[in-house]
Subunit: 253 residues, 2 copies
DNA sequence: CGCGTGCTTGAACATTATCAAACAGTGTGG
DNA sequence: CCACACTGTTTGATAATGTTCAAGCACGCG
């Protein structure tokens, strides 16, 4: 049984953060809401959401919501990357997920937030009250379908990760992680998915993959030495041999 | 890197199963559909589902759906327990979840099923085509809300399990598992949550908790020796000291 | 320049897996 | 009814993966 040696406490920076984020809440309405009639259903849903929400900024290291707080808001990431974290009583930390632009936050929470959400770098978000969000869900029949699909994807991703954490080795976990990041990037901008930006630090990666920092470092060094990846900088990975990385990741049956 | 020594192949029994399950599909409509007007929304949703579905039986060891098959149906467990499993290429197995009466199966799948679903003991289910299910979702505004809630709970449970697999020790995993089973049982029948029935075998527990069979056995023996639980039979656990089991499980922060 | 934080590498250690063997319960056939 | 085989469980001995502890490195910043 592991003994607690170091209970992680939020840094001063992080403590200031929530108040600041809330204070910066009503920066003004987005200015790209156009007339509705010509829009597709999905666009209309998006536009309606925009009108119902306010923009918030969450700066690097700040905490957007705290685990256990009443789940009053639902957020959508506009820019930047955030992480959802949860702590065990003795300080062990676990990173549930990294959130990138387009992701919704808080959909899975009912009464209270299950995770703290913190910004890796400065992040911009849209914020909706749960009530207005649910009102929109009731009003717009397409919205229900859409968010049902969003939940489905999240659930599916969670299941992939359960398999990863439950049955994959450290090397397989890291390889899967790098490939997922590469693919996400490829989805965004055309073809160039060889160079991956890592917005998180080694500690976040470790807590996301259920490993220790040192293991992450060793595995990265090992992949580099075997010329499967290159590490031009601390927050950057270049995939040199995707085929080898894939065989390293030991995919599904 | 683990080397594949034994690729699990479906037993003959399991192979026969799917055809049998499908064949037993249209056993007839349920006979408890009553008049709609006096019902509450939730009841109406349930009644509408009943009319839209057929009953299926899945016998012990049989496979209800196979990973990769087109996700044509959504099921609801009426009786019995089933397991969702996924395999890695080299035969490592991972049990995603145990499904008990009231649970919905296939909600998270879009094109194809992500898991095989197998019956632990004889199971009865309701089966709905995805199209009729989605039609109902569109027709009934309450249904959307309801299944949104179902998905939310599933996602929340998956996240709890990610924490368990990512950051908990073997002993903590088993303790959490036993407590969850005890609580589920307590929810069903009043107060008696001391005696837990284990519908699954040791291998299922191991693959569910990301451990090996031998580890499960050792931990159970250890808990028994420390008088925290008793093991009256192979599929039965009696919780003698819930308090100690809880401290063993190392809850959330 | 020196300090601090986060990263990297090394060595010893611990937990859990693997290999192996014995055991228990159940069903089958003699 | 008992012997036997079969499957699933339990326990033991050994090994390996990943952790822990420890020290050095590198980059950024005052």
């Amino acid at each position: 049984m592991a003994i607690a040696l170091a209970i992680r406490v939020p840094s001063e920076e992080a403590k200031m953060s929530r108040a600041a984020a809330v204070a910066s809440g009503a920066l003004g309405r987005p200015n790209h809401v156009r007339a509705l009639p010509t829009m597709q259903p999905a666009e209309r849903t998006a536009a309606e959401l925009d009108r119902a929400g306010t923009t918030v900024v969450c700066r690097r290291g700040q905490t957007l919501v705290e685990e256990g707080d009443p789940a009053e808001y639902i957020f959508k990431v506009v820019s930047g990357t955030l992480r959802s974290v949860r702590l065990l009583a003795d300080g062990r930390r676990y990173v549930a997920s990294f959130h990138m632009p387009g992701d919704f936050l808080g959909l899975a929470d009912s009464e209270n937030y299950n995770h703290s959400i913190e910004a890796l770098g400065d992040a911009g978000l849209m914020r909706y009250t749960r009530t207005s969000f649910e009102a929109m869900l009731d009003r717009d029949p397409h919205a229900g379908r859409r968010f049902f699909g969003v939940m489905r994807k999240e659930l599916s991703a969670a299941q992939d990760r359960l398999l990863l954490l439950g049955r994959k080795t450290a090397a397989e976990r890291l390889a899967s992680f790098l490939l997922t990041l590469a693919d996400r990037k490829a989805g965004e901008n055309g073809a160039n998915n060889r160079e991956i930006e890592l917005p998180m630090n080694r500690s976040d990666m470790a807590d996301y993959l259920g490993l220790r920092i040192e293991t992450i470092c060793r595995l990265l060094s090992d992949l580099k030495q075997r010329r499967i990846i290159d590490l031009p900088g601390i927050h950057s990975v270049v995939v040199l041999r995707r085929d080898l990385l894939e065989s390293e990741s030991e995919g599904d049956a």
